[in-house]
């Protein structure tokens, strides 16, 4: 019995850890969900539209733990490979997404800019934001 409880607690813990962060947009945005592939394409500036709606990604600053978690879970790559990717994009005339330095500024950007999509810790979610994906 006790083993079952421990196993359940472990599973619950794994679930909570797995959904520590969320991808968000404002309620004005008509999209309601995004797949990991769509999020990846948006933040690599490959994709600029979802269902005909223009999307503007906003990144956390590179020193934030949030950014590292996003890169590992969604982009599934490391800094060195991302660095190579953006150097190649620089030659193509493509810049990385806009960066906001704090979770509050990411939230403010997403609330105020039409089509903006960002990511924050789940604990920062409030009623003005819509969850598109959890990771």
């Amino acid at each position: 019995m006790s083993m079952k409880i421990i196993a359940l607690l472990l599973l619950a813990n794994i679930y909570l850890m797995a959904t520590e962060y969320i991808v968000i947009t404002s309620h004005r945005n008509t999209i309601s969900t995004l797949s990991p592939k769509q999020i990846k394409d948006i933040f690599l500036m490959k994709r600029h539209f979802i269902n005909g709606k223009k999307i503007i990604p906003v990144n956390a600053s590179s020193t934030q733990a949030l950014r590292k978690a996003f890169e590992e879970s969604i982009l599934k790559t490391d800094r060195e490979k991302l660095n190579r990717y953006w150097i190649k994009k620089h030659f193509q005339g493509i810049s990385p997404p806009i960066v906001q330095s704090s979770e509050n500024s990411i939230k403010a950007f997403v609330k105020n800019v039409d089509g903006a999509v960002g990511y924050i810790p789940r604990s920062q979610l409030d009623n003005s934001l819509k969850v598109l994906y959890e990771f």
Binding site: K46, F49, G52, K54, I56, I87, H90, G93
Partner: protein, 328 residues
Amino acid sequence: MKYLALSIWLATLLNAEGYEIGHGAEINDKLHMGGYLSAEYKSSDIQDELELDDVALLLYGNLSSSFSYLLELEASPFYSIDFKDDTTTIDTKFHYERVYVDYRYSELLNIRVGKQITPIGYWNLEPINVLRDTSSSPLYSYIMFPKLLTGLDLYGYLDDEYSVSYHLFVQNSKDLDEEYTNIKTDYFIGVSLRYEVSDSLQFGGSAGRYKTIDDPKNINFVQINIKYDNDPWVVQSEVAYNDIEYTVDGDNDSRLSGYIQTKYNINNHHALIARYEYMDSGREDIVDHIAVIGYSYRPIYALSIKTEYQLNSDSDLNRAIVSLSVLF
């Protein structure tokens, strides 16, 4: 005067806030600055040459949420010394390598107007030394189709998963800067498709037609390409076929060229490269086989030091190349 302008450019770029080598400097959303240069030393039985090969300036940015632009000016070869002839050549004229405006309309349809890189294959899309794995480019990349296009490109993704992309391009005028292209043409039309099977595997192909101005010919081409990129290995191959109609004598000809290249990344800084190239030029009765062995060292990704040795079926053309290149 040009040296002074170049110095000012470089000083402005390197001192801009947030400048990072290889990523340029973002002055604001409308203006992003960058540039690149490369130096090459080539040595063979018939060649002993040092070149400051490319000096290029890059400007790009967003004009609005839908419009963006890019301007690239390049001087090549900027400065060269031929040790065999004991001559020095300096050419500081900057040419229009790319000048275009992009309009993002939808997932399916985007429009690029101006002088741009022809959207064919892999090699042609990353043509500068610092982004390449070898100092030299395969013969295929020079002779099978115009590297640059002055015209219109319609492009986008054909599926919701963004796996299948297309380009439909056309040129119906002379090149914006005729001195600065591999094949002078005033008519060029084509289509290319790419399918990304996964993050590590993709393939595609192109087909089209162009008309050359010098030695007038109508050339139909087809091309295929495949790339496997799964660290530490990268394998890519491209092959193109030309069906040639000589407009003066009405004669027909054909040409086939391609390459296969393998790169092994020893780590993030060191890589070994091997490439085999083939070219069969029908009427000229030339069949070329070229093998290239190379080594690449990148202390940082935007700074590349490469060395290679080429073995050619015409042994007079065997040569060694050492290069240093950087993207600002």
